[in-house]
């Protein structure tokens, strides 16, 4: 599944603020002769504060830690015949506060290795509920045990120009909501991006 991503970051004296948005859709997710349409939307905004610089393999290592708020929306719509009374689709949304950590290893002026790790701590989640089956509330406050949104990425960034760089990397993301009928969404992605500094 292709996931489209756009991000913006602003460096202040003592912190970095960033805002990211990504969208993905596919109608070719298949298993056991069943096909489904998946839509997922992510919106993240947060702050990163630099820690003391360190050395790794005699190269400069910049570490950052910060907090963020994330919003996720997920829609699963299986391709099956249903009538007007029944619904085959399920959806979930989660608004979380969490922690993230970034690391940049400066191999050279033009070549960096970058990594990021984030996890939600507390979330306000919504889940589609079958009112015929149970009386559960469709909205709940969840800790990371019942509602987890986390991701890890590792990539390399090459500076074509001072302000223009390209990035390639790997990202793993995990969404797990178990406060209702369990929803586990895990994906690994090959990430390719262009970063312009202005």
């Amino acid at each position: 599944m292709l996931q489209y991503y756009v991000g913006w970051a602003r460096e202040h004296n003592k912190y970095v603020y960033r805002l990211n948005f990504s969208y993905g859709f596919s109608d070719q997710i298949k298993n056991n002769n069943a096909r489904t349409e998946i839509t997922q939307v992510f919106l993240t905004q947060g702050f990163l504060y630099p820690l003391r610089d360190k050395k790794l393999f005699s190269k400069e290592l910049n570490l950052f830690i910060g907090a963020s708020t994330d919003f996720i929306y997920f829609l699963n719509k299986p391709v099956v015949a249903v009538d007007g009374f029944d619904f085959s689709q399920s959806h979930a949304a989660m608004l979380s506060v969490g922690l993230n950590a970034d690391a940049i290893l400066r191999i050279s002026n033009k070549f960096h290795v970058e990594s990021a790790l984030s996890t939600s701590i507390l979330s306000f989640a919504f889940r589609s509920v079958d009112n015929e089956e149970d009386n559960e509330s469709p909205a709940k406050l969840l800790t990371l045990i019942k509602g987890l949104n986390s991701s890890f990425d590792l990539g390399v960034r090459y500076f074509i120009l001072n302000k223009l760089s390209i990035k390639a990397g790997y990202e793993f993301m995990l969404l797990n909501i178990s406060a209702w009928e369990p929803l586990t969404l895990a994906g690994d992605y090959l990430v390719v991006g262009i970063i312009y500094r202005f």
Binding site: K30, N32, N33, A34, R35, P78, V79, V80, A81, V82, D83, G84, F85, D86, S88, E132
Partner: protein
């Protein structure tokens, strides 16, 4: 209380201010308690009081509508006159939204899975549904069905049906919707694509109703001569419906109709009509028992009825019988061969009803 001579004499100026502060805080609390008390007493300003005229008008209209048109009061042994006083009293005592529960309960007395009510701008609320529906709600699963195929099923453009061919060269059609006229347009294409199979399984499990024209659209491809409908009654009058006419393409090989307790209304009529055909066998469990019907012609036979408040109720004005002359309301349609699925088997990926249908058609073809 306020500042007192005792306070001034015993405690001096500093303590006067403390006493005044305490008094002002208490005054605030007293003020809040007073306001809360007033608002509680004024509940009738914002909650409709007992005996609200609109509620009583809705009750009268509902009771009269059911009394005038509902065809099964006698069949179901419902003393509708006796219920008038019971629900009139409850309506008089209902305040605010409590009347919605009263309306729900009076409609539930009919124990009819077709009956619903709707608030203005709201969804349909069904006060009662047959126990067989809940028994079989989880004894069919479209993903378990797909495990018996070696490729994806085709879902029609309307989403009202899906079909495919099993590895044993047996056609499979799941009918999810008898509403509008989807099957009139889509069913011929489905039959065409399955015309060279050794048999067809028509799956009507989990079905909640629709129109007779869609039933006709299905049945017409399995007959070579006109077929009479079972008897139909509307506002206590017997209504003659033109027989079902055969249509091309005609399918002549064995047919299995899969049904269960969730099969309802138009799905049951379809089953009852198909069962009359020598090449068709109904397999599964007894259907839900939804024999009530309505029609837009004449206008007074419409099931939808608007109450004085703008709420809507649906009350059937007619019914289909089975070919043996008995209504299938409550009773349902019995399958020719009873095979029961359990929800545990479905959770384990086993659909015994589908497996039996496949085996049956395979044996029929071997014996020919």
């Amino acid at each position: 209380m306020g500042t007192t001579n005792i306070g001034r004499r015993l405690f001096g100026r500093r303590y006067h201010l403390q006493i005044l502060t305490i008094f002002m805080k208490k005054l605030g609390t007293i003020f809040l308690i007073t306001i809360f008390g007033c608002l509680s007493g004024c509940r009738d300003i914002y909650v409709n009081p007992a005996g609200y005229d609109e509620n009583l008008a809705d009750f009268e209209a509902t009771w009269n509508r059911i009394n005038d048109v509902y065809p099964f009061l006698k069949f179901k042994n419902i003393d509708w006159d006796a219920l008038y006083l019971v629900y009139q009293k409850r309506t008089q005592e209902a305040q605010g939204d409590e009347f919605i529960q009263v309306l729900n309960d009076i409609l539930a007395e009919l124990r009819d899975g077709h009956i619903y009510f709707e608030m203005k701008g709201g969804a349909q609320i069904y006060p009662w549904y047959p126990a067989r529906y809940f028994k079989d709600k989880h004894t069919y699963d479209p993903f378990v069905v797909r495990k018996y195929f070696d490729r994806e099923l085709t879902v029609t453009e309307s989403g009202s049906a899906e079909y495919g061919i099993l590895p044993q060269n047996i056609g499979y059609i799941f009918l999810s919707d008898f509403h509008d006229d989807y099957l009139v347009h889509e069913f011929p294409t489905i039959v065409n694509s399955l015309i060279n199979t050794g048999g067809i399984i028509i799956d009507i499990r989990q079905r909640r109703g629709g129109t007779s024209q869609n039933v006709e659209a299905v049945v017409s491809h399995f007959i070579q001569e006109p077929l009479a409908w079972p008897k139909f009654f509307l506002l206590d009058q017997s209504i003659v419906i033109d027989p079902i006419q055969p249509k091309e393409p005609f399918y002549s090989n064995p047919v299995i109709v899969l049904v269960n307790g969730s099969t309802f209304s138009a799905g049951e009529i379809c089953t009852e009509v198909l069962k009359q055909l020598p090449a068709v066998t109904a397999v599964g469990d007894t259907t839900g028992g939804g024999g009530v019907a309505s029609s837009g012609n004449p206008p007074e036979a419409r099931g939808e009825y608007i109450l004085p408040s703008g709420k809507l109720i649906y009350i059937g004005t007619g019914y289909f019988e089975k070919y043996d002359g008995q209504p299938f309301e409550w009773v349902g349609i019995l399958p020719d061969i009873r095979i029961v699925n359990t929800s545990e088997e479905i959770e384990n990926g086993i659909d015994k009803q589908l497996e039996y249908a496949i085996q049956f058609i395979t044996l029929e073809n071997c014996n020919r």
